[in-house]
């Protein structure tokens, strides 16, 4: 082997050894130390926890802008995965409606959707008394405009001494007439309706749906019947209430039914097919307030030589 060739080989070998040693040192022994990292570089489990913490913090402080900035730079898949799981988890364990609304608001802002959200989206923030239900002036015995047998209540043409012609320029009547003749017209006689009756004050009772709660939970054992969750909604008089939206939610899903669609079962009846080992929550009405949580199918007690089977739940909701 000649001198130049040997020198070239030695150079190449030297370079290779130098490169190897350099890489071993810089990658293994003294790598670049990252001390100012950011959430996107976190290990997967920590990264998911960051998303979860962001969502829970938003539940606590309601600062959407801050929550979104905390999630900035993270993969959308990570955010969606964690947020969906958290919403399903919170729905299943029956977290407060406010908490669920906050979470669904955040999810919606991030274009994340999950079945359990549907109950909480686009619903009013507070279960305030709905104006459509309360102002019913119920014609009860107290509400009758009792025509007091006074002289003023009789629609006679004889003007009573209490009638002062100058003091009754009632709204549009004779408003343009400059004359206020002292002879009172028969139409100006005070009507019985003008006497304020204190019985018209609206009663502050909240709507029926806001007052519903579980009054009965019965295990229904009928062999051969598909396991289900039956709901019966009743009013104050104990009569079935038709047309009530009932929501059944569980981790990963939600279902909706309306009472009264199976009239043979009663006006307030609705049911859902259910599965074992799933924790269900029941909500009522547009507000979707979870009224009953942790509903799980259970086996019926064995009778004689019957094979054990899964029963259904019958849940009665009343004010």
């Amino acid at each position: 082997m000649s001198g130049p060739v040997l020198r070239r080989a030695a150079l190449i070998v030297g370079l290779a050894i130098g490169l190897t040693l350099g890489l071993v040192y810089t990658w293994g022994i003294a790598p670049v130390e990252l001390t100012n990292t950011y959430p996107a570089l976190l290990r997967t489990d920590y990264r998911w926890d960051w998303v979860r913490l962001t969502a829970i913090s938003y539940v606590a402080d309601g600062d959407l802008e801050r929550a979104l900035s905390r999630l900035d730079g993270l993969e959308r898949e990570d955010v969606a995965h964690v947020l969906e799981g958290l919403i399903e988890e919170y729905a299943a364990i029956g977290r407060s409606t406010d908490a669920m609304r906050r979470l669904t608001t955040l999810a919606e802002a991030l274009d994340v959707y999950t079945p359990a959200m549907s109950v909480y989206l686009y619903t009013p923030a507070l279960p305030s008394p709905a104006p459509t239900r309360t102002p019913s002036p119920i014609p009860t015995a107290t509400a009758t405009p009792t025509p007091t047998p006074t002289a003023t209540a009789t629609p006679t043409h004889t003007p009573t001494p209490t009638l002062e012609p100058t003091s009754t320029p009632t709204s549009t009547l004779h408003a343009s007439s400059p004359l206020s003749t002292p002879t009172p017209e028969p139409t100006d006689t005070p009507r019985p309706t003008s006497t304020p009756t204190p019985t018209y004050t609206p009663t502050p009772t909240p709507p029926l749906l806001d007052r519903l709660h579980m009054t009965e939970k019965e295990l229904v054992c009928q062999p051969g019947q598909t396991p289900r969750i039956e709901v019966v909604v009743k009013d104050e008089r104990g009569e079935g209430l038709a047309g009530v939206e009932v929501w059944l939610t569980w981790p990963g899903g939600a279902d909706r039914a309306v009472t009264g669609l199976k009239p043979q079962q009663g006006a307030g009846y609705a049911d859902f097919n259910a599965e074992r080992n799933v924790s269900y929550a029941l909500g009522i009405g547009e507000l979707g307030i979870p009224l009953v949580t942790g509903v799980r199918l259970e086996p019926c007690p064995a009778v004689g030589n019957e094979r054990p089977f899964i029963g259904s739940w019958r849940i009665v909701l009343e004010p």
Binding site: L15, G18, L19, T20, L21, G22, L23, Y25, T26, W27, P31, V32, L34, T35, N36, T37, Y38, P39, L41, L42, R43, T44, Y46, D49, W50, R52, L53, T54, I56, S57, V59, A60, D61, R70, A99
Partner: protein, 105 residues
């Protein structure tokens, strides 16, 4: 050349970092969020695990340091109170934070 490649051209990539090496602002955020999560969920064990991941050697101290720093810089009283409550749940409090345990001063 090896040093140039290893430190500059293709430095070692870190993609699985622990929270302890987060930049200071993210680090503080992690602490604040841990305190908020403790308030919402009430899970002290989980809060402790998070703090240990964040500050393995001094989990409670990191909470108190941030809370006192926020007191000095006029931070949000509600956030200070959350941190104070978390520190108290872990068995520590300070005279600076004591007023926040009864409500924002």
């Amino acid at each position: 050349m090896g040093f140039a490649i290893g430190w500059w051209l293709w430095p070692a990539k870190y993609t699985n970092t622990p929270p302890s090496v987060l930049r200071q602002d993210y680090y503080d955020d992690y602490l604040l969020m841990t305190a908020a999560a403790y308030e919402v969920e009430g899970n002290l064990k989980q809060a402790q695990e998070r703090l240990i991941a964040l500050a393995p050697k001094k989990p409670v101290v990191s909470v108190i340091e941030l809370a006192e720093r926020l007191v000095k810089t006029g931070g949000d009283p509600e956030e200070i109170a959350r941190l104070a409550r978390l520190a108290q749940a872990m068995g520590t409090t300070t005279s600076t934070l004591a007023p926040y345990l009864e409500g924002p001063p």
